[in-house]
Symmetry: C2
Subunit: 438 residues, 2 copies
């Protein structure tokens, strides 16, 4: 399908200045073929569909670098609690009762929310990932999916293979599937739940099958202390020594870092998923993002799961990242608007190993495009669209969403999913889990 988006303010994300007022984007099949002024659009481009971008900003869809989409089922179930009480008495008992259908409907609920707030790609780590893949296929989003693996106590869902076997079968079936929209990583949960021997086995398999790794690293001060006590080194240094960073790695959190950790993460081009709202809500801390960026690290943004956020809204996440970093560094120039947008788009793409494919509006890139309606009172006057997107916009301002050149939402109407059915089914799953976790 050939689509022409007309009349939008195009934020290509190639540089802060690369903004094209009243520009056009031409899409052919899954890719962008032209971005610029309409006057220079090749005359032989004959669109089958024209999308009116008047009053809209067009930008690359957001890349949510770390979430557990099915945990939308636990949104608002347990808040304002200490971490271990939250996990042991609230989250884990419910997770133990999760059935395949819960993962499908919970992930689909997350997909609906993400489309509605402009996310086009997400990195997910959870269980029953075949169901998550089905939900992603149905919703039309792009995703990097990982089966979360606990090395110390490999929990297996009803009818599931052991985690590593499951992950291999899952990768064989889904890595590169649905036109490349789905990719697969291996998902060892974290150093404190996956001992070195287990991680060595994961690294071996990742190498054998050409897969990346999605892992939680240095989320809490307690984890760092624990690793130092057990292994005499920080989680980052331990992973480096094991050779993990020779592979493409997506490392969630990276909150508590020593100077040497920052050097390693930057040098090894580890993709970092910064999750500011979750880190604040669980009182984990504030990641040294300004220092990571100064060191040249690849830092994307994630929401984490809706149980600790409690939404999957990347506009909010950009805002929180930018605001908190200014206060944490004492410098109001830290993490300016364009940098926050880079983290939410092109840098997130790099963190997921999708650099060169998504994250910019540029010919040859995948047509993952969102239109944000700027004709809103909270986005007037029109001094600066970059500042408005980061500091003033909200998820509901996202009007239209394309992934791989396919329109998933147009003028706030979802086209791939029956939204009412998703809300009802997710509600049923959640109520059943709460009433009778097992």
């Amino acid at each position: 399908m050939k689509i022409l988006i007309k009349g939008a303010t195009i934020i290509t994300m190639e540089s802060p200045e690369a903004i094209i007022p009243n520009g056009v984007i031409a899409v052919a099949g899954p890719r962008i073929v032209y971005v610029g002024k309409e006057s220079a659009l090749p005359g032989d481009f004959q669109p089958e569909k024209i999308i009116d971008g008047t009053n809209m900003a067009a930008l690359p869809g957001f890349v949510n670098c770390h979430t557990h989409a099915a945990m939308t089922l636990f949104r608002g179930f347990a808040d304002d609690l200490p971490l271990m009480l939250w996990l042991e008495e609230k989250i884990w008992p419910l997770e133990a009762g999760l059935k395949k259908e819960d993962i499908y409907w919970g992930t689909l609920l997350g997909c609906v929310e993400m489309i509605r707030s402009g996310t086009t790609t997400f990195a997910d780590m959870y269980f029953h990932m075949g169901q998550a893949a089905r939900a992603v296929e149905k919703a039309g989003l792009r995703a990097s999916l990982s089966r979360g693996m606990i090395g110390t106590a490999p929990g297996v869902g009803a009818g599931e293979l052991p985690p590593l076997e499951y992950s291999v079968e899952f990768a064989k079936k889904w890595h590169g599937a649905v036109g490349g929209r789905i990719t697969v990583m291996l998902g060892p949960h974290a150093p404190y739940t996956c001992p070195p021997d287990f991680l060595r086995r994961v690294i071996e398999i990742a190498r054998e099958f050409g897969l990346g790794i999605h892992i939680h690293l240095a989320e809490t001060a307690g984890e760092v202390d624990d690793m130092k006590r057990r292994y005499g080194k920080t989680p980052i240094q331990l992973m480096d020594e094991l050779g993990l960073f020779a592979l493409p790695v997506l490392a969630a959190h990276c909150v508590h870092l020593e100077e040497r950790d920052i050097e390693i993460l930057a040098a090894k081009k580890v993709g970092i998923a910064h999750n500011p709202q979750s880190n604040l809500k669980l009182a984990s801390g504030i990641a040294p993002v300004a220092r990571l960026l100064a060191a040249g690290a690849v830092v994307g943004l994630g929401t984490d799961g809706a149980a600790s956020n409690n939404n999957l809204d990347m506009i909010e996440e950009m805002r929180t990242a930018a605001l908190v970093q200014k206060a944490a560094t004492g410098d109001p120039q830290a993490l300016p608007a364009f940098t926050a947008l880079q983290m939410a788009t092109v840098n997130g793409a790099r963190a997921l190993g999708l650099g060169g494919e998504i994250g910019l509006l540029k010919p040859g890139y995948r047509a993952d495009i969102i239109l944000v309606n700027l004709h809103k009172p909270h986005l007037y006057p029109r001094h600066d669209p970059l500042a408005h997107l980061v500091y003033a916009a909200q998820g509901a301002d996202v009007e239209t969403v394309l992934v791989d050149g396919r329109v998933l939402m147009e003028n706030r109407k979802l086209l791939t999913v029956d939204e009412e059915e998703v809300l009802n089914r997710a509600e049923e799953c959640a109520q059943r889990l709460v009433k009778c976790p097992k």
Copy 2:
């Protein structure tokens, strides 16, 4: 007019448990006359209008305790800059060019944005406040208005009286006007711009006319150092000594506080406007809200102006307040959802001297009510409406807004203001200011 709101989940804000599923609220004229189950609604209540609250949460409208509404004109004009450069090279030159009509349209733009995100009352400090009052009257909101006064260099707008005289005339005309919707405070800007002699005169006049005081206090570490150098005491202790706190005071920011300051603020029942997003964005710091609350202080929430926020969205402000306080204290139980909601409603009302009138859904209180649409993917499943409002909702979820029993917005349609005209006129004012500040 008699209005019945039916079928809503009623969050009265009297306690975390005081939630009435499928309840009704009866409104007669400007006040609430009944809140509860429909079965117990007095039979003689004959509504002229019924509002369907199915799928909605009904709660008291938000109280924005500190803003400069007309500064919406500067939204996104200057971000990511150091404070003094921001003020001296960007904001002040534009402010010097502000004309009466700018204040009217800028304030009205702020009012439109506030109605759309559920704010029903705001406390404003700026110039040309007669124009702000006209905008508030037009929009139908409730407001506490103050003419900002710089004692050291009393700037006077074209055709304006000197600040103190202006304030007195303004109070005579507007304090208690439009059915009590508008109240007036005196607005000495801050201790560093208003020397003790000026403040003594302000206190005298406030006493004479029975007015409260709206002032910025202890916003930055630099201000506290400066006051200590000049007067040998903190801004709070200086104000206490001058006798300011014998009057009703609304103190914005209160970020940098000593233990003794916290004791004074709590003992004197000073209304504190906590502005977390502005404090983060300008890298001012994080106010010790958990300690203030533990000491029994009256803490409300504000957005500050849109030049340093950059929106006037109280849902976001609640979320930021709650999340940041958890990280700042290292305690995920700090500032739980219900406390954030109290700050945004009933405690904000107390901070503005409007306790007993607004901030609760309770018979006898003013009918300042908002309906928030819970039938949104990011608010499913329905585990906990309090958590959803604070941690997951967004401004655009606010569906219907009443102030003094008058419907200002119904199903997202504004009823008091021509929104397109406001956007266009505000845009014109802003563009003129940017092109030719004087």
